[in-house]
């Protein structure tokens, strides 16, 4: 059942293949000693020659070599073969290779079947040579009977929309967007918060160079804001994703700022004139440590520099009654209290997800005293305290205003721990050393770092560790048993005591400090499951989005056209996030610049004549590839979304659905071959 359109593209060879003339060539590979060491390849080849329809049967040491490939090509031409079977290693490795060889010889690449006699017979039955040979014979026979029923197929090509959607405006999202925009592609950058910048914008200094985070980030943020190829939608979220690779239709929800973005010039007069004279609401950017008014910008270098009004705290929005001094103060008349959320529909070809991470909440670790003692803080909170634009203006002070004379930094909080997150969060050792250095620099405090293993793997990291050691920071190897305020000696009074075994010296120590910093680990965002469902990707066990292959495909996902960048895929430092963002952008570019994508040929199709319109298949499809044509009252399968899983084929009560490369005749041929020991396939 091949469409007439497809028939037209067939070569002479292929047309011959479509006739009932079945002339099969079987090639058995030795694969060095991988196969030949266990299976008698000569006997297997001789057996293959005896099978119905087999014109030629050969064995060769390495079929994937140039000589081997040429052998096959020659045979196809000289013996006028119409089908080819290769019995060698896994299709995952060489199916494409041999399909290409067959195509080069003029035959349709799908008139080919590969049999894995290495993993399925040789390697698993190394000590049972006779049985391995018998099994290999069965497998080859099955392939021969199957391939006889193969038909030529054509891979469809679909166009790729050159626009890209980048979800998340942290450093990874920013880098990906800039790379793509500079390559001339149009990028939609959607960010949930009112400004881009992500976590990096919150940091004070970055390791190991001690660059000011804002100083190196702001130029990139500015470039994003000004780039003609980037449409920046901040304070927005992706609401729905439909479509498939090359042709995604995305709905973006733009949350109401109550300020018309195009008119706001960022003069901040409205904030100044707000009826609240002082800042009194917790500022999200400062993690609640700082205060803001209901009308605010998240931080002084926000991009876009547009004001936001918080509907929870703004009196006008909560009660409807207010002097509206902000409206009065606004020259461009940008404030609009009646603004509603807006849904924008966009079409893109590829999507890069760069939604970042959240930090571990150490309240769970009760014996560290977070939220019980005011002077126990997380690493991220300290970044805000140290930052000159932060709530204390960069002054490192305790809750009561004093400067700390001694600081304890506890590593691995929430990480490397089977009770919370078993993995290592990768960056905490380095950021803890960085904080130790900054503590010494800012307040010349006595600093103690409590670690289990020090991970200083990157460029310049070990040297930084050495520097911190030289500065006199106490590096104590021991997982802290408790942080307590129960004093046992006079100098412990009024301080926080860290009780830990100094495993290097081999004694239990009690160390009084003024400030305890918990180096909290990185986790997937709280809505990771919702987001992954929306984009049809998967999450790994730790909760981060899953890459296609941890070593060889770290930025692709199992959904074509959706890529990952940054910490949403796993904890990493800034250099790695930027590198990964560049990689994701280049993968997207590779797709876009091809202009077209080839779709796999093994998709399912509906025979309209047989379909009764019962809709049984539609809800079963895991890839939502089947829709119902209301006019024709028939099911329609989207060839691009279809992954060829076969569920609908099996479920259709009218047997109206077939699947290319898995037609009934082909499957039955394979089954017959496996069991009947040589009898011809019955119809």
């Amino acid at each position: 059942m091949v469409s007439t359109a497809a028939k037209k593209n067939l070569s002479q060879n292929e047309q011959r293949a479509m006739s009932d003339e079945v002339r099969i060539g079987v090639y058995v590979c030795h694969c060095g000693s991988n196969i030949a060491g266990t299976i008698d390849v000569v006997a297997l080849t001789a057996y293959a020659k005896s099978l119905p329809g087999v014109e030629v049967a050969r064995e060769y040491k390495y079929l994937c070599s140039d000589v081997g490939k040429e052998l096959i090509r020659e045979d196809v031409k000289s013996h006028r073969l119409t089908r080819v079977v290769v019995a060698s290693c896994s299709p995952l490795l060489h199916e494409e290779t041999f399909r290409r060889v067959v195509a080069e010889a003029g035959l349709n690449p799908f008139c080919f079947q590969m049999v894995n006699i290495r993993e399925h017979a040789s390697w698993v039955h190394v000590h049972e040579k006779d049985k391995a040979l018998a099994k290999a014979k069965d497998l080859v026979r099955a392939a021969v009977l199957r391939v006889a029923a193969h038909e030529p197929l054509v891979k469809k090509r679909i166009p790729v929309n050159p626009d890209v959607l980048v979800v998340g405006g942290g450093i990874a999202g920013i880098q990906a967007a800039l790379t793509l925009a500079n390559a001339g592609k149009h990028v939609y950058l959607v960010e949930r918060d009112p400004s881009i910048g992500g976590h990096m914008a919150k940091f004070d200094k970055t390791f190991p160079t001690l660059d000011c985070a804002a100083c190196i980030l702001m130029p990139k943020m500015g470039a994003v804001g000004a780039h003609p190829n980037i449409t920046l939608w901040s304070y927005s979220e992706v609401a729905q994703v439909d479509g498939y690779v090359g042709n995604y239709k995305v709905t973006v929800k733009r949350k109401p700022r109550y300020v018309i973005e195009d008119l706001c010039i960022g003069c901040l007069q409205c904030i100044d004139k707000c009826i609240y004279k002082d800042m009194r609401f917790p500022n999200e950017f400062d993690l609640g440590l700082g205060k803001r008014k209901p009308v605010y910008v998240p931080f002084p270098q926000a991009v876009p520099m547009k004001v936001v009004i918080d509907p929870e705290t703004c009196i006008r929005l909560k009660t409807g009654k207010c002097k509206e001094t902000c409206v009065e103060a606004c020259g461009p008349k940008a404030i609009a209290f009646d603004q509603k959320e807006e849904f924008k529909e966009i079409e893109v070809g590829t999507i890069i997800i760069a939604t970042g991470f959240k930090t571990f909440d150490p309240t769970k670790v009760a014996y560290y005293g977070y939220k019980r003692y005011p002077n126990v803080v997380t690493g991220l909170e300290v970044e805000r305290l140290l930052n000159a634009a932060g709530p204390t203006g960069g002054e490192l002070v305790l809750k009561d205003g004093r400067k700390p004379k001694s600081v304890g930094i506890i590593h691995c909080v929430g990480s490397r721990d089977k009770r919370y997150n078993a993995y290592c969060s990768r960056v905490c050792c380095m950021y803890s050393l960085k904080l130790a250095h900054l503590m010494k620099e800012k307040v010349d405090a006595d600093v103690y770092n409590f670690y289990i293993d020090l991970r200083a793997f990157g460029k310049g990291y070990e040297e930084f560790y050495s520097r911190v050691l030289q500065e006199g920071v106490h590096l104590i190897r021991g997982n802290v048993g408790e942080v307590t305020d129960v004093a046992l000696t006079p100098d412990e009074e009024g301080r926080l005591i860290i009780r830990v075994e100094d495993t290097l010296v081999g004694v239990v120590r009690r160390i009084p400090v003024d400030l305890v910093i918990l180096a909290v680990g990185l986790e997937a965002q709280a809505d990771a499951q919702e987001v992954r469902r929306m984009f049809n990707i998967t999450c790994s066990q730790e909760g981060f989005f899953m890459e296609r292959h941890p070593k060889l495909a770290p930025v692709s996902t199992f959904t074509d056209g959706v890529f990952l960048a940054g910490c949403c895929q796993g904890p990493k430092d800034i250099p790695d996030a930027v590198a990964q963002a560049g990689a994701a952008a280049s993968e997207a570019l590779a797709l876009i610049d091809q202009g077209e994508i080839e779709v796999e040929a093994n998709f399912a199709y509906v025979d309209e004549d047989l379909c009764s319109g019962c809709k049984a298949c539609i809800s079963l499809c895991p890839y939502t590839a089947i829709t119902f044509d209301e006019e024709k009252k028939r099911a329609v399968i989207n060839e691009v979304l279809c992954k060829g899983c076969g569920v609908c084929v099996a479920a259709c009560p009218s047997s109206a659905i077939g699947q290319h490369l898995f037609e009934d005749a082909q499957i039955l041929g394979e089954i017959t071959g496996l069991f009947t020991n040589g009898a011809k396939a019955e119809e």
Binding site: A366, Y367, T484, D485, V486, L488
Partner: protein, 268 residues
Amino acid sequence: MRIFEELGLKLTELDDWNCCGATLCAGVSKISSFALTARNLALAEKNYAGKDIVAPCSACYLAFIKTKDYMQRYPDVKQKVDTALAAIDLQCQGKARVRHPLEVIVTDVGLEEIEARVKKRLTGFKVAPYYGCQTTRPYAEFDHPFFPDSMDKLLRVLGAEVIDYPLKTKCCGGAITSMVEEVGLRLNYILVHEAHKRGANAISTSCPLCQFNLDVYQKKTIKEYDLDFSIPILYFTQLLGLALGIGAKELGFGRVMVPVKPLLATVE
């Protein structure tokens, strides 16, 4: 028992109970301690079917839960214990529910009900709640392993002031206190000293061994560490009973080693 009666909960002593071996026997032969505990479980299932077991002794409480857990998780433990019980015609199916008196009071009776029955509010009592370790770790069945608050809530409802006591589950030394006295006294000191420092005039315990250690050894602790105070150590049902209007003698205040009369006097 008087308290439970008062609150309308029926308690029956398990007939012919045997010692579970507590923490000491587990250090000699773990499987024996499982078997000994299982005998109690089996007797309860056989003679008091359907009833919950209430274990005021914290070591027994933990031993019960541990035995049930190990018999479920480790087949060879189950097999050995089953064989041992079969030798005396008993069977342990792990069906009996094991509960702590504190949990029973707070859950089955409820704080509101108790508040309604309070006849004499414990005003003037500044209590440090001390839970000990066996009932909160490692199986945190009914409260937090380091900072539980069921007893705190109960005491507040009785009208007492509950002080913020971070050592509420810090080990008192358990069996070690009587055997290795220097260590026991030191742990004792840390607990009572901190309670006193934070303004407590009584410590309420939910473990009889903690009560014993902190109470009976307090005289020695005071001498060893030159302390100028003493602090009565009470079992929580004693305080509960007091609030319910039951007499001091009936509540066993006379059996507490550290004199309780001064406390009761300041409060009257």
